[in-house]
C-alpha cells in the first residue's frame, strides 16, 4: 500500500492555507451544528451574493434549448437573452455538451480580446487568449511551463495568494519572496524587488518570472500606474516574464484609485520584449461565479512557437468546461444599452459593487477602532489583511532563537489565534502566515463578503475576542449570532 514516503515530496511541501487545517476544523464544527462565518475564501455566492439574472437565464437556455421551443417558457425570458442564446447555439451548435477547441470557443476568445482592446484602448489578439478553468487553471499552466528545474525561481509577493507558492513547490521550483510595502498601502517597492532578486541570485537561484496581484490578494491594494511601470522596467532589466493576476480588476472601491492593466502600461511604454501573461476570472468582480470555474489568460510578447506549446499543454486536459466558457463570454460581452436586460443587469452589477464598497468601509472603520488591530482600507479586491498585536511571550526566550525558529514560533502563534477565534466566535479567517508576512508581525486575511449585518457582528465579535485573547479583558466571549450589531 502506498505511504507518504512513496509520494512526490513536492506534494507534501505544497501548502494552501486558504483551505488548510483551520477550514477543516470549521467544517467539522459546522457539521456539529455551529454557525460558521466563512471569511476564509473569496466565495461571494456562499455568502449570499446573488448571481446575475442575465447570466443564469442565458446558461439555462443554452443548457436546455428546448425551453426556446415552448411558448409557455418563452414568455418568461427577456427577448435579448433568448436572442443571445440562439446566437450562441447558431455559432456553436454543440452547446455545452461537447469538448470545444483546446483553447476555447473561438468567438468567446475573440470577445475576450475585444474586451481587452476596449478596456485599455490597445490592440489585442484573440489567438493569444486561452480560456481556462478559473484563473487557477492558467496559473498552473504558466508555472509548470516556466520552471525548468529546481534552481529556477519565481518572484512572489509577501503577502501573496498561496496558489503561487503551492504551484511553485509542486513543480519543484524556488519561490523568491519580495516584500510589499505595508506602510505605503501595500504597493511594490523597487528597492524591495532589487533586494529580493539580488539575494536570490546570490543563493544560486535563477529568477525567471515575477507574479504581481493587482488589485491585491490578500492586501486589497490597487497599484498605481507608476508602480506598474516600475515593475515592467524591473522585469525588462532582469529578463523576467510577468504573471499579472488581475482577477479583481472590477473590484475597485477607493475614490482616486483606478485599475490599470499591465497590458495597457506595457503598450503605453511601447514595450515589446517583456513576456506578459495576465489572468481574469468569472469568480470575482461582480459575477462571483466561483462554482463555474471560468477564466482566461492572455499572452503578450510571446513567440508563436511558445504559444503553440501553451495551447498543447491546455489540450492535454482537452478544454476548460463550457458553462465556464460561456460565463466568461457574458463577463467580457455583457448586455448593451438598448437590450431588454440592460437596465436590470446594470442595477444588479452596480448593487453588488456598491455593497462591497460599503462593506469594505465598514470593515475598515470597525477594525481600525479596535485597539491593537489595524487595516489599510481595502482599495480593491475582497479582502482585508488585518494586522494585530500580540503581547510578547514572557516564557519564551525569543532572543535565543534562530530566525527560522522565530518564524515558526510566530506562525504558530498566528495560527493559534485564528483557531481560537474560530472556536470562540465561529469566524473563519486565514492566518497571515499562510500568505507570508514580515517577521515580528501578525495578520489574518478576512473577506468582507458576508451580508451587511454580519459584517457589523463580525467586527464586534473580533473586538471582544481580541480583547479577551490578549488578556486585556478576561471573559465575555459572545457567540457571533448574538446580535452584536
Amino acid at each position: 500500500m502506498i505511504t507518504l514516503k512513496d509520494l512526490n515530496q513536492n506534494v507534501l511541501r505544497a501548502q494552501y492555507a486558504v483551505r488548510g487545517p483551520i477550514v477543516e476544523r470549521a467544517q467539522k464544527l459546522e457539521a456539529e451544528g455551529r454557525k460558521i462565518i466563512y471569511c476564509n475564501i473569496g466565495n461571494p455566492q456562499a455568502l449570499k451574493q446573488k448571481p446575475l439574472t442575465y447570466l443564469r437565464q442565458l446558461l439555462a437556455l443554452v443548457e436546455y434549448p428546448a425551453l426556446m421551443d415552448d411558448p409557455r417558457t418563452m414568455a418568461h425570458f427577456p427577448a435579448d437573452v433568448v436572442q443571445r442564446a440562439r446566437d450562441i447555439l447558431k455559432r456553436h451548435p454543440h452547446g455545452t455538451g461537447a469538448y470545444t477547441q483546446s483553447c476555447g470557443i473561438p468567438f468567446v476568445r475573440k470577445a475576450v480580446a475585444d474586451s481587452i482592446a476596449a478596456r485599455d484602448g490597445i490592440p489585442a489578439n484573440w489567438e493569444r487568449v486561452i480560456l481556462t478553468d478559473g484563473a487557477s487553471g492558467g496559473v498552473k499552466l504558466a508555472v509548470v511551463s516556466l520552471l525548468k528545474g529546481p534552481s529556477d525561481g519565481i518572484m512572489i509577493p509577501t503577502p501573496q495568494y498561496p496558489l503561487y507558492s503551492a504551484e511553485i513547490a509542486l513543480r519543484g521550483g524556488t519561490r523568491i519572496d519580495y516584500d510589499l510595502d505595508e506602510e505605503n498601502e501595500w504597493q511594490l517597492s523597487e528597492s524591495a524587488l532589487t533586494d529580493s532578486i539580488t539575494r536570490a541570485r546570490r543563493e544560486g537561484t535563477n529568477p525567471v518570472a515575477i507574479v504581481v496581484i493587482n488589485p491585491g490578494n490578500p492586501t486589497g491594494a490597487v497599484l498605481s500606474y507608476d508602480n506598474i511601470r516600475m515593475v515592467v522596467g524591473f522585469a525588462k532589466r532582469h529578463g523576467l516574464t510577468v504573471l499579472a493576476d488581475e482577477v479583481y480588476q472590477e473590484n475597485v472601491y477607493s475614490a482616486g484609485r483606478r485599475f490599470f492593466s499591465f497590458a495597457k502600461v506595457m503598450h503605453d511604454l511601447g514595450e515589446k520584449d517583456v513576456t506578459l501573461i495576465s489572468y481574469h476570472s468569472v469568480s470575482k468582480g461582480f459575477l462571483g461565479e466561483c462554482g463555474h470555474r471560468g477564466g482566461y489568460m492572455e499572452f503578450r510578447n510571446i513567440p508563436d512557437d511558445v504559444m503553440a506549446e501553451m495551447a498543447k499543454l491546455q489540450s492535454i486536459a482537452l478544454c476548460s468546461n463550457v458553462p465556464g466558457q460561456l460565463a466568461t463570454y457574458v463577463m467580457v460581452a455583457p448586455p448593451q444599452p438598448g437590450d431588454a436586460s440592460y437596465a436590470s443587469y446594470v442595477a444588479e452589477r452596480d448593487g453588488v459593487i456598491a455593497q462591497l464598497k460599503t462593506k469594505a468601509e465598514l470593515l475598515d472603520k470597525g477594525i481600525n477602532a479596535i485597539e491593537g488591530m489595524s487595516l489599510a482600507m481595502p482599495q480593491g479586491a475582497m479582502y482585508g489583511f488585518v494586522r494585530f498585536e500580540l503581547p510578547p511571550e514572557s516564557d519564551v526566550d525569543v532572543a535565543a532563537m534562530t530566525a527560522e525558529q522565530r518564524r515558526d514560533r510566530e506562525a504558530q502563534r498566528n495560527s493559534d489565534y485564528c483557531l481560537a477565534l474560530l472556536e470562540e466566535t465561529g469566524i473563519c479567517v486565514v492566518p497571515g502566515s499562510g500568505f507570508g508576512q514580515r517577521p515580528g508581525t501578525f495578520h489574518f486575511r478576512t473577506t468582507f463578503l458576508p451580508p451587511m449585518d454580519e459584517i457589523a457582528a463580525l467586527v464586534a465579535n473580533l473586538k471582544t475576542f481580541h480583547e479577551s485573547y490578549t488578556g486585556r479583558q478576561p471573559s465575555a466571549r459572545a457567540p457571533l449570532t448574538a446580535g452584536a450589531a
Copy 2:
C-alpha cells in the same frame, strides 16, 4: 522575450496526438469550407448525439431556480425533475455559483460511493471519492503525486490513451510501455507485463504504478475477470499502485462481454494491500457530456494521511466545476422506476447505447471487408483501432536503420497516411503512432460516433482511399459527402 529554450523541457516532450497537427490541419480545412468528419476524439455531442433531456432539464433549473417560481415555466417540466432540483438546492443552497468543498459536494460524493457499492455489491467509502474536472483532472493529480523523480516509472499499455504518456513526460517521470495482445482481443498478457517491468528495472527505472484502461482506449477491448485478477496479482507482487481508467464502463456492446471493475475484483480477492485509483467521467457512457468536464476518482487501500495529501492537491485549484459535479450526480443517481422521467430517460439511454452498438458492428464489418485493413470488433468504448498494411518502401533500406530510425520512419508513414486521408476525404483520425503500436504495424484510431449514414460513407471512403493510397487503384477519390452509403 521568452523562447522555447526558456521552457520546461518536459513541456516540449509531452505529446498529445488526439489534438495534434492532423487535427489542427482539419480545423484549418474546415475554416476554408471543407466538410470534416471528426473521428479523432470521443466527443459524442459534436457528432450529433443528443444530450439526455433529464440532465439538461435539471441543470437548467439549478442554474436558474427562478424557473421554479413561475407557473408558466413549471408547466414545462416533469415533476420529478423539479423535485430533484429543489432537493439539490435545499441540500446545497449555493447552487452552481460557489466553490464547493475541495473534493466536491458531500452528497454527490456519497451518491458516487453508493453507486459503486450497488454496481459491484461491495462496500464503498464516500470520503475516498474526489470529484474532478473530467477524468483527466484526476489522472493529472495521481501522476504528479506518484512520480518522485525522473527514475520513477509508470507502466502504460501499448497502445494507450496519450493523456498518460503526456502527463508522465510533463512531470518528468519515465513511461514503461507494455504490449497489449492484439492477437488475443487486446487483453493484457502476464508475460508482456513481466517482460516490460524486467526491462524497465534493468534500465534503472523504479516502477511505481500501472495504468489499465478498461474498456480499452484506443482498443475497444473489454477485459475479462481473469485478466483483471492477473493484473491485480502482478501489481501486488511488484508493489504497484493501479490506475484503472474505467470511463467507458457503460460502453459495452459485445454479447458475452461484461464490465468488471478493478474495485470488485480486488474486493473478491480480499486484496487489502494494492492501492487502487479508479476513474469515471460524464464524458463517455451514454451521457457524452464532454463539455461539462465532470468525473470522479475513487481510492482504495490508501492510508488517511496519503488521502489527505490528495485532497490538499485538489484544493489548490479549489474544486471541480459545479455543473460538472451535478452531471456526475445524475450519472450515478439517475431517475428511478416510478419517477415521471424514468421511461423517457431509459428510452434515451438505451437508444444511445443501441446506436453505438450498431455503429461498432457497421465499422467492424465495413473495415474487415477492406483488403489490407483489419479491426478487432470493438467490444466496448467508442473506438476502433484499425490496422492497415502499407506496401514496403522500395527506395528505403530499412535493414540498415537502427530500431529508433525504423520507429520514426514508421511513425512518419503512419502520419502521412492519416494526413492524406484527411486531405482527400475529410476524415480526421489519429495515427496509431500517437497511441503506440508494435514495430512493423500501422494503425489509426477512429471513433464510431458519427451518425449512422456517415459511418457507412466513412467505410466506403476509407476503402476507396486505401486502395488508391496503396497504389492498387490509382484515382477516383470521392469526397465524403458524395453519397457513398
